[in-house]
């Protein structure tokens, strides 16, 4: 729980010296809680005050970065148990694991496949974030890490409990700041030393919650704070239980040993069961979810579930504004206009697909609101549609000059025809009427 300005003020010198740049200590306290000032700006602050305030100002769950450069991912930093209370902030990272003992050709193919696991969703790319290499215990991890570092742009997860194998692998990929998975009761000191040496995040791999507390405290005592937690849950029921306890202890009880993101390793043998295990982990608090190289039809639901669970409930999901192609339209194909609210767009797209008539769909930027809401707010007007028609060069993409307008805003027809010089055809009120509408216009499937 964050402190209020009054609580912070109690710890300040109350001298109103003004050296921090604001006239009074109370005003400074208010800046502090809004994170617009730092305690260092106060020349009279004591070491005691610093500890008291910094301790309570620290977020209850650390944010941890895995990897380096463009593809680095941030996880953790979560502040709520339920998305409707605020939002979940950092989408969990999805890792696909490959065994280090795969023959080089197979490993190379595996790396290439994981790298390519990206799915286009109207202007958004969903996909796998991390490549995990699981130590087969036969001395192959270093070579596998070398190949992965050379061939993959994804940050790595090194899965080994052998500090020697981990150290050798880090020689090849340590600069990429991989996640080390991980430290056990037996190897913790050596793993912490490696994590420190290479400045990598380190996962603590326990066998139950109580051992996890002990590991976290040992790592803390050794002065290392880039940690992830794995309670070692052996069943789906246990996973849900442990993840909930860790998240609650961290946020509601400020239990420091659990103030880190978690890792869930999905291991169900049946791929569909593993997919459902991963979706459980996505919904219930995991920071990193590790799965086998499942086929695309299993990965796609996982990354989509993550998109949904981590979307901000305050902000409607939007698709990219602009011209989208549904089917394989030609310059003769119909053009429909709608808004960029994802649910509205997907309905239109789905019904155009169902009609089997290829078409162009112009998504106008309405800040993610539906047709009638945007129209009422003035974001979906003859002016904004005409502007979008120009901006996205409709006239260059199609040979005809007819635009289909949602029936709910038929009132815009006259003004839009005037502004655009196009024929405006009033379409159905509901997108479900599109197939019938196309048939009535004589637009038939190719």
């Amino acid at each position: 729980m964050a402190l209020t300005a009054i609580e912070v003020y109690k710890h300040l010198p109350k001298s109103n010296c003004g050296k921090c740049g604001v006239p009074t200590c109370l005003a400074f306290a208010m800046k502090l809680v809004q994170k617009q000032a730092s305690l260092d700006q106060c020349p009279e602050v004591t070491e005691e005050t610093k500890q008291a305030l910094e301790g309570s100002a620290a977020p209850p769950m650390a944010t941890v970065t895995i990897g380096a450069g463009d593809r680095a991912v941030q996880i953790g930093g979560e502040t709520v148990l339920f998305r409707h209370e605020e939002t979940f902030h950092h989408p969990c990272a999805l890792a696909v694991r490959l065994s280090s003992s795969l023959p080089p050709a197979q490993l190379a193919a595996g790396i290439e496949r994981v790298e390519g696991c990206r799915y286009d969703r109207v202007g958004m790319l969903l996909g796998v974030d991390l490549l995990a290499l699981e130590d087969a215990g036969d001395g192959s991890l270093a070579e596998a890490a070398q190949m992965a570092a050379e061939r993959s742009s994804l940050p790595l997860v090194l899965m080994s409990t052998d500090p020697q194998a981990m150290g050798a692998a880090l020689e090849h990929c340590g600069a990429g700041r991989p996640l080390l998975y991980g430290a056990t009761a037996a190897n913790l000191d050596a793993m912490v030393a490696l994590a420190k040496q290479w400045d990598c995040p380190l996962a603590l791999c326990a066998t139950d919650l109580h051992e996890l507390v002990a590991l976290s405290e040992r790592a803390g005592q050794a002065g290392y704070g880039k940690l992830l937690l794995d309670s070692g849950a052996k069943s789906l029921s246990q996973l849900l239980n442990d993840q909930t306890i860790i998240r609650r202890a961290a946020l509601n009880k400020k239990f420091k040993p659990f103030g880190f993101p978690t890792v869930a390793v999905c291991a169900a043998e049946d791929p569909a069961a593993q997919m459902l295990e991963a979706i459980t982990a996505v919904a219930k608090y995991a920071g990193v979810v590790i799965v086998d190289p499942l086929p695309d039809e299993y990965l796609l639901p996982i990354v989509t579930a993550r998109l949904n669970v981590y979307s901000d409930p305050q902000k409607p999901i939007q698709v990219e504004a602009g011209m989208h192609e549904v089917g394989e339209p030609t310059p003769e194909s119909p053009v429909l206009v709608t808004t960029n609210f994802s649910l509205t767009y997907y309905l239109v797209e789905g019904d155009v697909m169902a009609s089997k008539v290829p078409a162009h769909v112009l998504a106008v930027d309405t800040e993610g609101t539906s047709v009638l809401t945007a129209w009422a707010a003035g974001n979906f007007s003859a002016e904004s549609i005409a502007e979008a028609m120009n901006k996205f060069a409709l006239a260059e993409k199609v040979a005809h000059r007819a635009l289909v307008l949602p029936g709910g805003v038929a009132v815009l027809k006259g003004k839009l025809e005037e502004l655009s010089g196009w024929e405006v055809v009033v379409g159905p009120r509901e997108s479900s009427g599109i197939p019938l509408f196309f048939r009535q216009r004589g637009w038939v499937p190719r």
Partner: protein, 318 residues
């Protein structure tokens, strides 16, 4: 530092609703189905009881689904134009806990079947299976108000779940349920205040809380599922914190929503094997509804039902 397991003390619980009536109870069902009763969050046993696991119903349409893609048709063989045979297959072969009979034939824009025709289908399905029946109208308020009384009478005493009562149209269906000993689905469009309002309207008409199941319009994975997800979570929290008017069990429609998503049927090689995709999309959608707190899922594909059943087993403590 010692870990103190953070247990929440909930003041309320989800109510229970029992579908179906046996011979002793005035019906002909051999099995009844009790939903709800939890005094904790979904699958979280550390702070409360979960007396009844979530149930899986399968949906039967009373008009042959012409547009179903092949992977969805395949497991049903030749029963898709016979609702009674379809229902039997769902129960005996696929293990459905209940049957949802969706009266699509009544739609005035489509076949416009008469109330008597629909009632006859209800009788046939009741005779064919021994599990509880959920009777769901075509969605046209005026027509449903003609069809539901006939169907309700045909099923009198069977403690069927009738759907759906909405804010603008709830009186007829509630009167049917009161007259013939049935239950009602209280529907609201992703709005917890409207949900509560509809529940209040039904109880004011005399329907007790233990004869109401809530239904928030759902949406599929990738297509708005997050709205329903948060509504379900908020509703469960409301029940656990003592709001009686939001304490009824919740139903989610999974099959028809999931198979609408293009990921379920579009031939797109980048998305993987088409013959598995719809099944997985349905199972994944179901998983999210279960974690959000749903009590009764309406499924389409038997393989998706099997996968979800296995997940429910894995969520039981060892």
């Amino acid at each position: 530092m010692e870990l103190a397991i953070p247990v929440e003390q909930w003041s309320g619980a989800v109510g229970t609703v029992t579908l179906g009536a046996t011979a002793e109870q005035g019906g002909t069902r051999r099995r009844t189905l009790t939903l709800g009763g939890e005094s904790t969050l979904p699958f979280l046993r550390l702070e409360g009881a979960i007396p009844n696991p979530p149930a899986l119903a399968m949906e039967v349409l009373d008009a042959s689904p012409e547009k179903w893609p092949e992977p969805l048709r395949a497991p049903f063989g030749n029963v898709l134009d016979d609702p009674a045979a379809w229902a039997v297959k769902c129960v005996e072969e696929f293990g459905a806990d209940a049957i949802v009979l969706r009266l699509v034939s009544a739609d005035p824009q489509g076949q416009d079947a008469s109330p008597e025709q629909c009632a006859e289908t209800v009788r046939r399905v009741l005779q064919a299976v021994s599990v509880p029946l959920i009777i769901w109208g075509c969605g046209d308020n005026d027509k449903d108000n003609l069809v539901m009384p006939a169907c309700s009478q045909a099923a009198a005493g069977e403690r069927c779940l009738l759907g759906t009562a909405v804010q603008e149209n709830y009186k007829t269906i509630t009167a049917c349920a009161l007259a013939d000993g049935h239950l009602v689905i209280s529907e609201a469009p992703l709005d917890i205040s409207i949900q509560k309002q509809v529940n209040i309207l039904l109880t004011e008409q005399g329907l007790p809380l233990d004869r109401i199941v809530m239904y928030q319009v759902t949406g599929a994975l990738g297509y708005g599922v997050e709205y329903a997800y948060s509504i379900l979570e908020r509703t469960r929290l409301a029940a656990l914190t003592g709001d009686k008017m939001l304490s009824m069990p919740m139903l989610s429609v999974v099959g028809s929503e999931a198979w609408k998503a293009k990921e379920s049927w579009l031939d797109e090689p980048k998305w993987g094997a088409l013959e598995r995709r719809g099944i997985l999309w349905e199972a994944a959608t179901a998983a999210l509804f279960l974690h959000a707190g749903s009590h009764l899922l309406v499924m389409w594909h038997p393989e998706a039902l099997r996968l979800v059943r296995a997940m429910l087993t894995a969520l039981q403590p060892a």
